[in-house]
Symmetry: C2
Subunit: 314 residues, 2 copies
Amino acid sequence: MEKAQGFQVILVEDAGKRKAYAKITSEVLRYSTDFFHRKGFVQLMPVILSPITDPLGPDPGSSVIKTGEIEYLGQRLSLTQSMILHKQLAVKEGVEKLFIISPNVRLEHPKRGKSGKHLFEFSQLDFEIAHAKKEDVFALMDEFVRGVVEHTRVACREEFAALGRELLEFDGAFPIYTTHELKEKFGEDWETVASLAHKSPFWAVCHKREFYDKEDPEEEGHYLNYDLVYPEGFGEALSGAEREHEYSRIVGRIGKDMLDAGRYEAYLELAKEGLVPSAGGGFGIERLVRYLSGATHVGDVQMFRRVPGEAVVV
Amino acid sequence: MEKAQGFQVILVEDAGKRKAYAKITSEVLRYSTDFFHRKGFVQLMPVILSPITDPLGPDPGSSVIKTGEIEYLGQRLSLTQSMILHKQLAVKEGVEKLFIISPNVRLEHPKRGKSGKHLFEFSQLDFEIAHAKKEDVFALMDEFVRGVVEHTRVACREEFAALGRELLEFDGAFPIYTTHELKEKFGEDWETVASLAHKSPFWAVCHKREFYDKEDPEEEGHYLNYDLVYPEGFGEALSGAEREHEYSRIVGRIGKDMLDAGRYEAYLELAKEGLVPSAGGGFGIERLVRYLSGATHVGDVQMFRRVPGEAVVV
């Protein structure tokens, strides 16, 4: 009985809202696919299992409790945490502008279930551009965010009305801050506070992060990376960077992060042959839908809820 | 050294062909997404991990050696083998026409690596329509296949020329045969032989298959399901069916197939509340790209090769 009610809470209650979220998700996927094709990007297939995947941050206190792994015919394969390394390899193969609608599995600590913005399974639209700089990504995403807002405002008029959601209008380019500035103004945990203080999306640049984010060659300890942050408290939209592409720098950064270089053997062999400089990023589809629709929790917009710490029904 | 050469064979040799396959894949994804949106389908997010997934056939000699599984916070979760059960649940939630670009993991026996058409990881475009009959799916796919051929013929002219591929033209509706007819004419293993004997795609109807394919209520042992088969030896394109939606019939079929009903507990609870009659199907993106581009092996069209029995490099 309790279980049957559990199914109801997750799958049937608020069927109207669930249909509205499904429609908004659908229109976001439609617009996103069309936008990146129109801009000349090649759409790649996702990778689900690979010997290599994104290590997700040098932080030993990272909230991902383990990488999902299976064994198949004697090989240990990891579930994709992000396609960053595969994006670099595809650029090396000559696909100079690419995107993937990429399912990511990140087995988060159950405490993350309360953040409102974490899932253990979601999809990001992950893109990469050969020879690009961070300013190219800023311009692209500025146009994309305005475009998806305009598209869904028209295509999902009824759904937004049913959800009682009115997006704040925003004009002008999205402001750009360093994380140093944001920490000074909003404290160490600046993301939600700064997001609440804004009506427009904004960029936060220069974090210490994963080994593949390029360190500023002119300023050690500074990084050519960026997050796009939604306003109104919805927090991180996208994270991305210009990439480390020189073998010696990548090896040095993997060492500094105390990662097991053996796990990246094939990637490092290929990097030794020469990667191509690139910049890119990835934004979560469900977080974008949450922002557009004003949902309390990012899990609310999923047809099949995947929130850390909650039992998975189907 | 041997390993370094291994990387080269898989990632670098035929870089021109690899780029051509990537471009054709991209245009197939573009056309497919646009087509199903234009037809009024709602695009859902894929599911990667779930307590339930497609059992993939009642055959104890099935070529899938195991289901990929992980443990997360005390739950056993399976990697999606197909989204069939989730499609039925989404239709029950009121999403009456839906599609998903759905990554499927099927850990095939290594012998399947030689078939030319099997991968252990691929994506299918999986769709479902409430209250539809098989004739609705035939009409939809007829239009889709002609459309994607026309679209790629124009968008990928250079790539087809580089690959030396000329698709055979086909006119008229795709012929429909029963599997009984096909077996009589082409033998027990009719698929490849019949495919080679055709210039146009054709339908094969009425197989004994998974429990969710509807048994003909007027003719026991006959099934309201269908495969679309490519010509020129490329084999199966799509498989689909009208669905069993009545709880008692589903329970009976699961029993007949000697499956562990406990694995489908949540699905069965929801089926007890009442599923909605529907029909649908799924076609593999990589197999479609293989057919369009005339590739020898479906793995050739993957940027990151996933062929059963071959070591995975990256």
